[in-house]
Amino acid sequence: MERIPILRMGNFLLVTIQVDMHDRLALQLQDDLTQRIAEWGSTGVLIDISTLEIVDSFIGRMLANIAAMARVLDAETVVVGMQPAVAITLVELGMSLTGVRTALNVESGMELLYELRGAFRPESEDEISQA
């Protein structure tokens, strides 16, 4: 079945959403992420949506849900890379993603996670593994 890959980097999980998200895929990601957080004890989740051309209320809700579920599992979520046109549309739609932390790009998103969790930084490439 089609799945969005979840990368593990030290205590953090990285997800890059590069495909046009359809609803089933979004729900699958929600399930997979919560599983991984519980399994690996991850303390941070970074979701890169820089290639997403639209975020509608369904996907917005999925992002908010992931952040809420992760928080309950003691992990912080940062959504990074939203395109300006998507941001304009999302706010006009009525969704301001309250409760979801955001950063402009992957780099500042990672910095924010380190700041929030003060977690150890992975020393070598060996510690990066794929789910």
Binding site: D56, S57, A85, I88, E92, L93, M95
Partner: protein, 116 residues
């Protein structure tokens, strides 16, 4: 899916990126309504022109249960489907013209236009 076709047409009409994004997002919301509430239906897309401007018109039609109280359905936060209740009201804000007709037991038709 509906989103790709709308994007393609909006590109051909040379909508700005923000307008494209708004229109495609509105189409996504309305198509989801048609599927979730209307039990499936169809989208008809055409180019409309008046004396000064060009626009893209999308019509979503279903033979579903219809909407008993349209003004309620348009209100943000009102939902019967367990979502956020932003679909109808939100997509109305993303387009220029918005028309909804619905008859209980017969179905619903939503027509929107985004002018360039």
């Amino acid at each position: 899916m509906a989103r790709q076709r709308v994007r393609q047409w909006a590109l051909e009409l040379r909508f700005t990126l923000v307008d494209q994004t708004k229109l495609v997002t509105a189409a996504s919301e309305l198509a989801r309504n048609t599927l979730d509430h209307g039990k499936g239906g169809q989208m008809v897309m055409d180019v409309v022109e008046d004396s000064v401007k060009t626009g893209l018109r999308l019509a979503f039609e279903d033979d579903g249960p219809g909407i008993p109280d349209i003004s309620n359905a348009l209100r943000d936060g009102f939902t019967t489907g367990g979502g956020m209740g932003l679909g109808l009201g939100g997509s109305k804000r993303l387009v220029n013209d918005f028309d909804i007709q619905s008859e209980v037991g017969k179905g619903t038709r939503v027509t929107v236009v985004r002018w360039k």
